[in-house]
Subunit: 206 residues, 3 copies
Amino acid sequence: MDFLYLIDILGTFAFAVSGAFFAMEKKLDPFGVLILSFITAIGGGTLRDMMIGDLPVGWLRNPTATIVIFSSAIASMFFGSFIRKFNMILFVFDALGLGLFTFIGIEKGIQMNFSIGVSIALGTITACFGGVIRDVILNTVPLVFRKEIYALASIIGGLLYFLFLKFGIDNDLAKIVCILVIFVIRIIAVRFHLGLPRFYNRDNRA
Amino acid sequence: MDFLYLIDILGTFAFAVSGAFFAMEKKLDPFGVLILSFITAIGGGTLRDMMIGDLPVGWLRNPTATIVIFSSAIASMFFGSFIRKFNMILFVFDALGLGLFTFIGIEKGIQMNFSIGVSIALGTITACFGGVIRDVILNTVPLVFRKEIYALASIIGGLLYFLFLKFGIDNDLAKIVCILVIFVIRIIAVRFHLGLPRFYNRDNRA
Amino acid sequence: MDFLYLIDILGTFAFAVSGAFFAMEKKLDPFGVLILSFITAIGGGTLRDMMIGDLPVGWLRNPTATIVIFSSAIASMFFGSFIRKFNMILFVFDALGLGLFTFIGIEKGIQMNFSIGVSIALGTITACFGGVIRDVILNTVPLVFRKEIYALASIIGGLLYFLFLKFGIDNDLAKIVCILVIFVIRIIAVRFHLGLPRFYNRDNRA
């Protein structure tokens, strides 16, 4: 339980930082940076809670997330002034959040006795939709749909986790390994521009 | 009951195919096609269930939708390689889904004892918002707001259905006729570019 | 209670008009104007109700909102033909809705025994997210993130309200004053282009 709590805080921190740097790259004002940081960090979990009916949604019941997000966003704005490569930090923290939040969602699915498939879907929604909502609000085609592997990393990590559990590997160890797997897949995918081949449609323009 | 179940599966199939072809036209990778197909098919029903509080939302409780969507998306990708007119298939299946899903939403409204007006609104939301979410995520102005009649077809079909019921026409027959009416209105609207006149604003630029 | 009901109807009216004029400026057809007017007026409250679990969401239980919205949208379309400055009316009514709906959300938070912080967050969500959804659907960067102070006005008004209550000022009076404060802050901000300084990022392009 304590371990999951730590993952939750780390994931919230990671996505809050990624949201803040994204907002700074888009040149929003400090207040816009706060809001976007917030939406990125709680968006996926909020959608998940609304879909499974675990209401009021998490951040309304527990102020920890809000405190973590506001501190992270303010720190990002402060240190951001010294940093020239916003993109780099945005990607690293986003990849970290992707790994961490996948397990918050999976755990919620297990707690509510959903099947393995649904639990992995909840993990992916928790991990990906904060970013999707962030991108949609700022009129960018979501990261999820851009060239490099994104949601797929979260799904692979989730499948691996249930495989590990089946082979009797320690739960906490399995989580840590799978979080790292998701993080590494995502970083490698972006670094080497790895993606699945896209559809090529001969005579349509769009 | 069986009949509604069939409508649900057919509607899911139709929207999954329309979502897949939309994604292929936008040149997403196969994984993006799967996700978009999924969002198009379950988006409207998910929003409806979240709004009326029928939680967890449908597709989390029943794996049928997921199986239908994944099969439809994979089949679309396979056959899509042989097809040159993506747009055409996208429009036909979208129109079919519009008709079918209108009745899934209306039925849910009737089951929950909502008024006729709310039931029709739920039908329209079920039928239209999967596509709206699909379009919004991909940064396109939603089909609903483009020139040709869209949501209006769903509303007309819904009104006609309650009128038929009032005149004692058989429930299943009334549904089939109204689904066809919605489908035909939509196809005719697109084919002949039928739409309501738009506002013309003399001195604003946007 | 009666007083809150009045605020709710006025807020619904204000946002319905702002949504209708926004849609007319974007040259949608009359049906699109109706839908957009509806989304603008009920979007924030719907999101709030889905997040706190007060389901079915408000407008499904009570037809008043729907009647107010449809009348306002139709009146806007009628009078819109005589008006040349859509932008102006859009901004004034949007600012009014911002003030009014902040208190509908805060009241809901107080009723459900949420903390002051959460209540203000619910007020801001109720007041801002109808417009955010409206803007996102029409592919515009949300008003909230544009140069002038927007959500901040709602938060300031909310904080002031709880401060007034603490000093024993009459509840209804406190509400009226704070609604006016929010309205005036927003109008002044737009009139004089007041905003927080934005981030300037030296070597990124976006």
